[in-house]
């Protein structure tokens, strides 16, 4: 497994074109592999995420089973002579993950649930639209994902309820774009709601955690959702 970091040059029109269209960024990410990576048959897959750290620091993270070649991205949306991309070996880090280790994490996800409005109706996938529900969506997945979100000490809680966890939900974005089916050429509309999570977690089951880190969490993984990354707690 490899983790790759690529900084986008937001002053270039190519970068703005990619950032404004998850469909095009997905295509650009996938075309960085000569061999088509990970079929959705249970093997590791390609996950990516864009972090808008500041107006001029926009970083694409890419996790996948093969080493990507981002030359085309550098040419379109990077710094061709002074900047490139950095690929890191992810496997040693994943094997070192231990139970009860604590990490700060970041995740951009597509928090959804399936509802029916009346009996007998087929269920329909529906986005969570409030921070409370979006946080609950992640908290519901922590046991199976092999981690628990760290709870806050009572004296550090700012609210009587709703502030129990070391978790920030921010940057809700509504994405709405047209997708062109490669095979049939038909157009379909994609609407997504994404939210970014920052917080601290404790690993409870390293194997399940590794699965989340390499397979992603939630829906819309092709459109920059589901990649959870860990960093040392400061």
């Amino acid at each position: 497994m490899f983790l790759t970091r690529f900084r986008l040059n937001t002053a270039r029109s190519g970068a703005r074109r990619l950032l404004s269209s998850p469909q095009q960024l997905h295509a650009a990410v996938m075309s960085s592999f000569a061999e088509p990576p990970g079929r959705p048959d249970g093997g590791p897959r390609v996950l990516w995420r864009v972090d808008h750290n500041s107006r001029t620091e926009v970083v694409l993270y890419l996790v996948g089973p093969q080493r990507p070649d981002l030359t085309h991205l550098v040419e379109q949306a990077g710094w061709p002579t002074t900047g490139g991309w950095q690929t890191y070996d992810y496997a040693p880090f994943l094997t070192r993950l231990t139970t009860d280790s604590t990490w700060s994490f970041r995740l951009t996800a597509n928090p959804v649930h399936s509802i029916r409005r009346k009996d007998g109706e087929p269920t329909k996938r529906t986005a969570h639209l409030t921070k409370h529900h979006q946080a609950r969506w992640l908290l519901d997945r922590q046991g199976a994902g092999g981690f628990t979100i760290v709870t806050k000490a009572p004296e550090r809680q700012l609210l009587p309820q709703g502030d129990e966890y070391e978790l920030i939900v921010r940057d809700q974005r509504g994405l709405d774009f047209t997708k062109v089916e490669q095979t049939r050429g038909s157009r379909s509309r994609v609407t997504l709601v994404t939210a970014t999570y920052d917080g601290r977690l404790r690993v409870t089951d390293p194997d399940a955690m590794r699965h989340v880190l390499t397979m992603g969490l939630g829906k819309a993984k092709a459109y920059g959702c589901g990649l959870l990354t860990l960093a040392p707690v400061r």
Binding site: F2, L3, R5, D51, H52, N53, S54, R55, E57, Y61, R67, Q86, T87, Y88, D89, Y90, P92, F93, S104, F105, R106, I168, R170, D198, T229, L230, A231, P232, R234
Partner: protein
Amino acid sequence: MSVLVLRLAGPLQSWGSSARFGRRTSETAPTKSGVIGLLAGALGRPRDADVSDLAALRFGVRIDQPGTRITDLQTAHHADSEKSMPLSHRIYLADAVFLAALQGEATLIERLHAAVLAPVFLPYLGRRSCPPSLPIDLGTRPGPDLRKVLEQEDWHASDWYRDRHRSEAVQLSLLVEPTAGEGMPEYSQRDQPLSFDPRHRRYALRGVSAGTMRVPRAVPDHDPTQLLDGV
């Protein structure tokens, strides 16, 4: 000693200290005379009342959101003679948020706090056409350290302004009256009120020492590559 904390936020504000004639300028932060006038009005004092007790309070301001300067060119004709009045340029600060703090005897500060909660004359932000958009009262804090109170207060900028700045550490300006032990002020400003009497308003010079403080980033840093080996 205690400190009264006010939030001065509104679509328009205008805080003049050196304005003369047709050009009514605004400072970049609330003036002491403006805020003392607001409090005297909240207490219900007439304009020719003595304000020396309020003017003796120590005053400090924090610029939470600087706002933008806009100029209004005002024309008018005399109601009876229909002669044109002099043109006037009026400078306003749009979309600004300030924190003002006043330090003094606890009983007086409590009285001012009660007056802000139930003002006799409604408060306005430097000019009567500039009403506050949010409650101005943020309560009182015990203790003699005005600067510390301003430094410990939450950042009150609007959500859109925070969103624009949340990935950088933001510097806020503090403009505080120095105490006797703190040395010389950096500059002086003619906004120490002596009298608000409309027949002869008088202001004295007041020293201001400027400082800055940092607001930590709202979004934590996240670098997942820190523990990885490069390939």
